[in-house]
């Protein structure tokens, strides 16, 4: 369903978040698992996606990666500007879909419905043009990390405020794809309602967020799990400067390869190679001591008489061991 997300439905609808008797309570429980500071809708949404796609064979939106992005709130002319830093996307991640999720609050005329009913004879109230909700506009701009400009205009979406507060989703795939192509991975979103927004906006649990569904082409490569999840070099743990980020290295992949040279590159046990120049060891092993000679196992079976003789030899050899053991035991008992 995420390859073509519905235009005006929230995560509750798209991912079945509304299931259950008290969805808000269960969502809160889920979000609590993420720890303090992360108990917002994006965390809950990601947890739901995780549950959905943890089932065997399921692929998120046809890919293998979903990235969420929380915004940084900036206030420009008393209006909220949500700034998304998309730079953590990897080059190997092919964007399939990008969705913008935002909490939409009801606006006039619904917000003024009660006062109007109370003052039914009020002329100004009667003159209000009922059924014409104020249009809002969602404006997207992109900019690169190194520029201080206002950013390149990427899109304008007209919104009709809903009758009641709810989360909505907008497909912003073309916007994100174009911004990425141009290397402008800072994306700003602004909800423009025409007039001045009341008060100074603050980042709340209802802050918008972006989900990007992608197919990471590098995930099938060897060691891909370490590229994203290995964040420290176990051999240099003590060398890191205090306060440095765990993965402040420019190369996110930790190189753990050992100095594999010579015999370690093949399947031979060390010391098996008979060429002395390549065996930098003081102790030399003879092949027959380590590998039982296949000739011995495959040579023609000895006759019954020979076998009996051999088994006697083996018995003698083993009986010596037993005799020794018995002697030791007797000694021990005496002691």
């Amino acid at each position: 369903s995420h390859t073509s997300p519905p235009q005006s439905t929230g995560p509750l609808a798209t991912d079945g978040l509304a299931r259950g008797k008290d969805p808000q309570k269960s969502l809160g429980d889920k979000a609590a698992a993420l720890g303090p500071g992360a108990q917002d809708m994006v965390a809950v949404h990601m947890l739901r996606l995780y549950e959905k796609y943890s089932r065997r064979g399921a692929r998120p939106g046809g890919g293998n990666t979903v990235r969420s992005f929380r915004p940084r709130l900036e206030v420009v002319n008393q209006k909220a500007l949500y700034l998304f830093n998309l730079t953590s996307m990897q080059d190997s991640e092919m964007i399939l879909t990008a969705t913008f999720h935002f909490y939409s609050e009801p606006r006039w005329p619904w917000a003024h419905e009660v006062p109007c009913k109370q003052q039914a004879k009020n002329v100004s109230c009667r003159l209000l043009p009922l059924g014409l909700p104020a249009r809002q506009h969602l404006l997207f701009r992109s900019l690169s990390q190194n520029t201080a400009t206002q950013g390149l205009f990427r899109g304008n979406m007209a919104l009709v405020p809903p009758p009641r507060a709810l989360w909505q989703t907008k497909d912003i795939s073309p916007i994100v794809k174009a911004a990425r192509q141009d290397g402008e991975l800072l994306l700003s979103a602004q909800l423009d309602s025409g007039g001045k927004d009341p008060g100074v906006p603050r980042l709340s649990p209802h802050a918008p967020y972006i989900l990007i569904y992608a197919n990471d082409l590098a995930i099938s490569e060897p060691n891909s799990v370490a590229v994203t999840l290995q964040r420290y070099d176990p051999f240099q743990a003590g060398d890191r400067e205090p306060g440095a980020a765990p993965n402040s290295s420019t190369d996110p992949r930790v190189r753990r390869a050992t100095q594999a040279t010579g015999p370690l590159q093949d399947n031979e046990l060390p010391g098996l190679d008979e060429r002395p120049a390549q065996i930098p060891r003081t102790q030399h092993y003879h092949k027959h001591e380590l590998w039982p000679s296949p000739f011995r196992t495959l040579k023609p079976r000895p006759g019954r008489k020979d076998r009996r003789k051999k088994s006697q030899d083996v018995f003698v050899a083993s009986s010596q061991v037993l005799h020794f053991d018995e002697k030791t035991m007797q000694k021990a008992r005496r002691k």
Partner: protein, 110 residues
């Protein structure tokens, strides 16, 4: 694991991300059943270890012993399953990735 079979087979291994120090950024799962493969791929290899044709030939060559130093085929994962991991990226954003080949379903001599 003395009661484990000597022949190549899948053995139980539960990996706790806390044990390898990844729990700080991995949200879920906290642990998973990874399993591992161990055991001998001795000549003659039974069908149960599903040897590849190459492994069968290698096993025979080793048993014949004409070419010295040829080891037994290796007991390695054959079918594997993916694992979805929910984690925090460098910017503390929540990411879901489905990693392939994270847990062993079957083992084989290869």
């Amino acid at each position: 694991q003395w009661d484990e079979p000597r022949v190549c087979s899948r053995r139980y291994l539960k990996v706790d991300f806390a044990d390898i120090g990844w729990n700080e950024w991995i949200i879920s799962p906290k642990s998973f059943d990874a399993y591992y493969c161990a055991g001998a791929c001795e000549f003659p290899m039974p069908k149960i270890v599903s040897p590849s044709n190459h492994a069968t030939i290698q096993s025979i060559v080793r048993a014949v012993g004409i070419i010295p130093g040829i080891p037994e085929p290796c007991c390695v994962p054959d079918k594997m399953n993916s694992l979805g991991v929910l984690f925090l990226d460098e910017n503390r954003n929540v990411v879901l990735k489905v990693y392939p080949n994270m847990s062993v379903e079957t083992c084989a001599c290869r």
